[in-house]
Symmetry: C2
Subunit: 204 residues, 2 copies
């Protein structure tokens, strides 16, 4: 069976990264799609495991050749998902979680067939703010900016297939897990299995 | 939030009844939709709990008045699901499992909006046969007839939203449970919750 691409977006502070890590740990068939980036490796990061670290020129060439399913520039550094890498994983039966922002998801929706689009919602914008404050990585100004962006992102939530409110981590993970399992049982993804089991009946 | 109608079909011997019972026991929001029937109550059966037991004439009147979402005659006795009863349960937020055959599901599909259609597949026709033999309720002739019908039913499997292969009960139940949880998180059913949490952002 072909793998499934789960496209997961959320405003910052909604707890997406934690949920995605839990899902990757839970499902043995999840493989990481290694992104390309133009930023320099941080201590401990390994090329080909954490990212493919490339120069700006190489990244430009990949953009021009249409090799990215989606790419985005964040603070001057760019990140992109290779279409070929992803499709090769899916063809081998691995499933992949793409943690990407709403613009990235828009691009993926235009090119990738059969992905499952999941939006993680915070229970409120105040909850996002609290999480951003307590993780202590952003200045008050940055937090304000992130919350403004969060509003824009939440407006795109209706474009996704599933909405998961992360009010309680265990409950939200239960939902995410269920969406991932249910997606495998969706008829469009079971056609191969159905033919395998009952092809003689269906064709007669 | 409005409840969800889960329409579950399967050929005889696929293990549908067991799976539906497990689901009803697991989810506190599942209510039984009490069917109408023209057959006589068996010892221990209670009117209004197991079935609404009605005379043929009353059943005919309900058919003529279009009160049934679906109805079917089985061995001369008829069974029907009341549209009003079901909708009233769903409006109150209860979810309902409708264990019905593929013809019944076809009728429900034409009238009910937003149902989730699940088909339980046996791993093989031989497995159905084995289960029918070991439950010891049917004659060899009946079993042959049921297997012929099973083939016809399996041909309709692609019309359902989800296909669950009941090769191993625990695994199949995990899938059924996941489909039921995931259905609640489907965007079409989360619109109310989304407006409740972020209506001010979405409307601005």
């Amino acid at each position: 069976m072909k793998g499934i691409a789960y496209i997961i977006s959320a405003p910052s502070g909604a707890g997406k990264t934690t949920l995605c890590r839990m899902a990757a740990a839970h499902f043995p068939e999840i493989r990481n799609s290694v992104s390309y980036t133009t930023r320099k490796p941080r201590p401990g990061e390994v090329d080909g495991r954490d990212y493919w670290f490339v120069e700006d020129e190489a990244f430009d060439r990949m953009v021009e050749a249409g090799e990215f399913l989606e790419y985005a520039g964040v603070y001057g550094r760019r990140y992109g998902t290779s279409k070929k890498d992803l499709e090769s994983l899916l063809d081998q039966g691995w499933s992949v979680i793409l943690e990407i922002d709403v613009q990235g998801a828009d691009k993926v929706r235009q090119t990738l067939k059969g992905g499952v689009y999941i939006f993680i919602l915070p229970p409120s914008l105040e909850a996002c703010e609290q999480r951003l404050i307590s993780r202590g990585k952003d200045s008050p100004e940055d937090i304000k900016k992130r919350l403004k962006i969060a509003e824009e992102e939440i407006r795109k939530a209706p474009l996704y297939d599933y909405l998961i409110v992360n009010d309680e981590l265990d409950r939200a993970f239960e939902e995410l897990k269920s969406v991932m399992i249910a997606s495998r049982a969706a008829t469009m993804r079971m056609e191969g299995r159905l033919m395998e089991l009952f092809g003689d009946i269906l064709k007669s």
